[in-house]
């Protein structure tokens, strides 16, 4: 019952979020009637997802048929939920897929493409003017934070690569890799030449 309660709360929250995207529900309607089973191996836990035009229904137990099963350890499932490129995670060896995988890919596609209209939701509670002021302020803060983060990351990488020499810089690493590649090709060429010479020597001895 505890799990059922948690799933009911999660379902309520997820559907609320899905309603904030104008395209999510019509896209989910196309998956109506499909059942996706998510089977977490460690810890053992099963979750059934039933999409329809009103959002997602989550169930801990489902007696009906299942269209697609995704089986993976919890770590991989979390990675799948957070990863930008979900296809790469789905192809990893610890992840097993059975059934109609198109359903699962469509479902992940919809969740990945979510573009939430949070201003509309805020407007319902605060009204248009406070929302506009607050949204402008939040957007400014978000832009400032993004820029700050980018600058910090650039400065950090410059410091580590150029000043402290703790790490090798990207260009330096690329140059080293290209030299290594050239060396590898040269060695292969040398090996081929030595094999040819050895073969020539063997043939002349026999003659």
């Amino acid at each position: 019952m505890l799990l059922a309660g948690l799933l009911a709360s999660a379902e309520h929250g997820i559907n609320h979020v899905l309603r904030m995207d104008s395209t999510a529900l019509p896209r989910l309607a196309a998956l109506e009637g499909k059942v996706v089973e998510i089977d977490c191996l460690q810890p053992a836990l099963k979750l059934f997802v039933l999409p329809d035009d009103q959002g997602l229904m989550l169930a801990a137990h489902w007696e009906g048929g299942v269209d697609c099963t995704l089986r993976a350890p919890a770590g991989r499932l979390a990675q799948l939920a957070l990863a930008g490129d979900k296809t790469a995670v789905l192809h990893s060896p610890q992840v097993q897929l059975h059934g109609d995988t198109a359903v699962l890919l469509d479902l992940f596609g919809i969740l990945q493409d979510l573009d939430l209209d949070w201003e509309y939701e805020l407007q319902r509670w605060l009204g248009p003017v406070p929302t506009a002021l607050l949204a402008g302020h939040l957007r400014l803060r978000a832009r400032w934070s993004r820029q700050g983060l980018t600058r910090f990351s650039q400065n950090l990488s410059e410091y580590l690569a150029e000043e402290s020499r703790t790490l090798v810089g990207k260009r330096e690493a690329e140059a080293a890799f290209s030299e290594l590649d050239a060396l590898k090709v040269d060695i292969e060429r040398l090996e081929a030449r030595m094999r040819r010479l050895a073969h020539t020597l063997d043939t002349s001895d026999n003659a």
Binding site: L7, A8, E32, G33
Partner: protein, 256 residues
């Protein structure tokens, strides 16, 4: 030999809570209870169960195995909690019939579902569970949630449900049952006979209806008895799941 179900009058009697009443009177008395509580039925369910009734109903839906295009009958559907979920599951190609013997409950349920935009694949029928007005082998799934204990002839109702189910279709009975834990049973008795009528008095100004609710729960068959009633009616693979230490149980049977 005298028939133990017969009282002073020649008419057989049945229980209405802890009272014995003539069988013909039970439906009328139950109807009075539900006319009285219909308007605040959902609120009272939430208050009395602490919201647990939603989880019990969720689990029942999970056991139903209902899919797109199925035909579902929700008997004693009341305010339409199960019917709304089934309407989503069966989709536009399926059909849900919400049946209730009580006009007030049906009206509240219909208005509530229409207000929530649940329409198109749902029908509302005032019907007696003992004499279901549907053809044989018609539904993929039949449910009755917190309704069977109010039915006068439970065996007749179960047989009627079997008749309208398709072979392979499933019946789900969600109903109050007997707690499996003695301590829980004592606490539950104290809660039922002290708190429930008091809450009924405070919220709906009707303590008697909630006293009846507590009494009718005690008079309802326990898990094993209800299971044997379903088997006797002709259901196959009858199982039950206890929830909240057996305060509620969901029985499932398949029509062979």
């Amino acid at each position: 030999m005298t028939d133990p179900r017969k009282g002073d009058h020649a008419e057989p009697t049945t229980h209405f809570g802890f009272q014995d009443v003539p069988e013909s009177q039970k439906a009328k008395k139950v109807a009075e209870v539900f006319h009285s509580v219909a308007a605040k039925y959902d609120l009272m369910n939430d208050v009395l169960s602490g919201g647990m009734h939603r989880l019990w109903k969720r689990f029942t839906i999970e056991l139903s195995g209902v899919r797109t295009g199925n035909r579902v009958l929700d008997i004693a559907g009341g305010t339409g909690d199960l019917a709304a979920k089934f309407s989503r599951l069966v989709g536009p190609t399926g059909q849900v019939v919400l049946a209730d013997i009580n006009e007030s409950m049906l009206k509240v349920g219909r208005d509530r579902l229409l207000d929530r935009g649940v329409a198109g694949n749902i029908e509302f029928v005032q019907a007696d569970a003992e004499k279901l007005p549907f053809p044989d082998n018609h539904f993929d799934c039949v449910t009755i949630a917190f309704g069977l204990r109010n039915v006068t002839h439970k065996e007749d109702a179960i047989r009627s449900m079997l008749r309208v189910l398709k072979p392979g279709g499933r019946l789900l009975i969600l109903e109050f049952s007997k707690p499996t834990n003695k301590l829980m049973s004592k606490a539950y008795d104290a809660y039922s006979f002290a708190f429930m009528p008091l809450a009924g008095k405070l919220i709906t100004n009707d303590s008697e209806s909630y006293r009846y609710l507590a009494e009718s729960i005690r008079m309802h068959p326990d898990q094993e008895t209800l299971k044997s009633m379903m088997v006797a009616a002709g259901f196959d693979r009858v199982t039950y799941h206890n929830m909240t230490s057996g305060i509620v149980a969901v029985h499932r049977g398949i029509k062979p």
